[in-house]
């Protein structure tokens, strides 16, 4: 019921060991601050779902929070590999990682099926691809009307969805805009949800067709300004490409990754402290604070 609370409290109460967790945001509005809090609270055996694992899941996988990953494209966008993901798949470090792999069309349809409470999604896809050979959850069904063979994938039904949005009002209604990815579907498909936002306002002033998640559809709302950094929040701050580039060398070896996580995540008590530290340790490569050279919020 859109209850306003701290991120620490929300993660404590709503994300448990062994949960199926979807932290969504397609390049835009990625809930990084929530990811750090999951690592800080040392959640284990999570099944992580995300179309584009991005740096946020590289961090969770390297930190040993995950046992399984469900995804459709796993790179560091514009930079290259996710080294922690690759180390898990190629060398079983920090442990073996089971994968269930789709295409974007397949996984986005699976989110829609989850939000629609359907047993599967149907799409015209995967023909000639080897993906169905290695993922038995991609099947083919015959259309009862035309006889056409179509692909079917099971729904995504997370225990918890976590997204970042621009605004919530004091009642906990949430508004987001720009590139929307599958955030709305993720929240609608999940049993519980945590929404971090840039700010809490008196009135959302949303246009009638705006993407609004009414308060009663979300479990917790946490005010975490900058919480999508190093991804971006449209109208608030831009993508911090310098951080994505820096992540390539931070994550390249197990030692540099572990020391970064220890210093920045485990040895800070919350995202506010993390931000302060980052300003000192990574000022050279980063654009921080993110609000410095951005447009004014709408």
């Amino acid at each position: 019921m859109g209850e306003q609370t701290s991120l620490r409290n929300a993660v404590e109460r709503l994300i448990h060991d062994g949960d199926v967790l979807a932290m969504e945001g397609f390049t835009h509005l990625i809930p990084f601050a929530a990811g750090y809090e999951v690592i800080r609270q040392e959640r284990k055996n999570l099944t992580l779902i995300r179309m584009t694992p991005d740096v946020i899941y590289d961090q969770l996988i390297g930190a040993g929070c995950a046992r399984k990953l469900i995804f459709s494209w796993g790179g560091n966008p514009g930079v290259g590999s996710l080294h922690r993901l690759r180390d898990a798949l190629e060398k079983d470090w920090p442990g073996p990682l089971e994968i269930e792999e789709y295409s974007h069309a397949g996984l986005s349809n699976a989110y829609v099926a989850g939000a629609s409470n359907l047993p599967f999604a149907v799409l015209r896809g995967y023909t000639g691809s080897d993906l169905p050979k290695y993922n038995s959850r991609i099947q083919f069904v015959k259309c009862p009307f035309t006889g056409e063979e179509l692909a079917a994938v099971p729904p995504v039904r997370p225990d918890v969805a976590v997204i970042h949005a621009q605004k919530a009002d004091r009642k906990g209604n949430v508004l987001l805009w720009g590139i929307l990815g599958v955030q709305k579907e993720a929240v609608m498909a999940a049993r519980r949800s945590i929404i971090t936002v840039e700010e809490i306002v008196n009135d959302l002033n949303a246009a009638p067709n705006a993407c609004v998640l009414p308060s009663w559809t979300v479990s917790a709302v946490c005010c975490v300004p900058g919480g999508a950094h190093p991804s971006y929040a449209h109208s608030y701050y831009e993508r911090d490409n310098g951080f994505y580039q820096a992540w390539d060398s931070i994550s390249r070896t197990r030692a540099t990754f572990q020391s970064w996580i220890k210093q920045h995540v485990m040895n800070t008590s919350d995202f506010e402290e993390f931000k302060e530290l980052l300003k000192e340790t990574m000022a050279e490569t980063m654009r921080w604070p993110p609000n410095a050279d951005s447009q004014q919020p709408r």
Binding site: P77, G78, L85, S103, Y111, S129, N241
Partner: protein, 264 residues
């Protein structure tokens, strides 16, 4: 870096790929080389091309080249931005995309593409990012253009994994498998342009870029590459094409803070 010809092989590749895109085409764009070529087309001969990115922007007109598939500039300059499920369901599967513009890590003689894994899927030697939007773009787009640098490591006899379908095992295989689109109609590299043979669908060299020898093309292909009966030389980049590409790349480097302070 300019050569004695006044352009690099990479510039030639980008320009040749851009020329394939017709004005008013609706194009589903992959990030990287395809995005550079598609935007060069938009800024030269195809001002009314409609660029769709899988993150949701439709009719994007970015000022600089996007680093990621979901850069804010894409959303800011688009005619509309829709959700990811909608992009794949209504726009691609709905039949509104004329051309899919893709890159690849590995490609075979029938233009099937691997972007998933080198080695065994379950015990990968090198794990690549995976499918993204490509399997359904290559299936459902009206036609597909592919752009990648040519080497024997990328142009292989047998793919380790088929991520996205080209012409399968050739001939009328796409038809038999019920794939709606025509599939790959051209592969543009830094050495040449290949097109599928009308009948067998095997990739055949139809144009060689200026200054490139046949032997170079043969050496950079992992199978015995076929040449068309008449192989033409690719028209070199025009001054306007080169200038537009140079400006676009300079603007991009500036925006990403990749230039030394004195050059900004």
């Amino acid at each position: 870096m300019a050569t004695e010809r006044g352009f690099t092989t990479t510039q030639m590749m980008t320009v040749a790929a851009a020329r394939m895109l017709k004005n008013h085409a609706v194009c589903f764009v992959g990030i990287g080389l395809p995005s550079t070529a598609a935007n060069l087309a938009r800024l030269t001969h195809a001002p009314d091309v409609v660029l769709i990115y899988e993150s949701g922007p439709i009719g994007a007109k970015p000022h600089v080249l996007p680093l990621s598939i979901g850069d804010g500039d894409l959303a800011e300059t688009a005619d509309t931005v829709v959700s990811t499920p909608e992009i794949f369901r209504y726009w691609l599967q709905g039949g509104h995309v004329d051309v899919g513009f893709l890159g690849a890590a590995q490609i075979d003689r029938f233009a099937n593409i691997n972007t998933t894994v080198i080695g065994d899927y379950r015990k990968p030697r090198t794990r690549l990012p995976g499918a993204g939007g490509a399997p359904e773009i290559s299936g459902s787009a009206g036609a597909v253009l592919i752009v990648l640098k040519q080497s024997a490591r990328a142009f292989v006899e047998k793919l380790d994994f088929i991520t996205s379908v080209g012409h399968l095992d050739g001939g009328d295989a796409r038809n038999r498998n019920g794939l709606p689109g025509k599939g790959p109609v051209a592969v543009v590299t830094d050495l040449c342009v290949m097109e599928p043979d009308e009948k067998t669908k095997e990739l055949t060299v139809t144009h060689i870029h200026p200054g490139v020898a046949r032997e170079q093309v043969e050496k950079a292909t992992g199978w015995k590459i076929r040449f068309a009966d008449t192989v033409r030389q690719t028209t070199p980049p025009s001054a306007r094409e080169l200038e537009t590409l140079h400006d676009l790349e300079l603007r991009t480097a500036r925006a990403r803070g990749q230039l030394p302070a004195h050059a900004r």
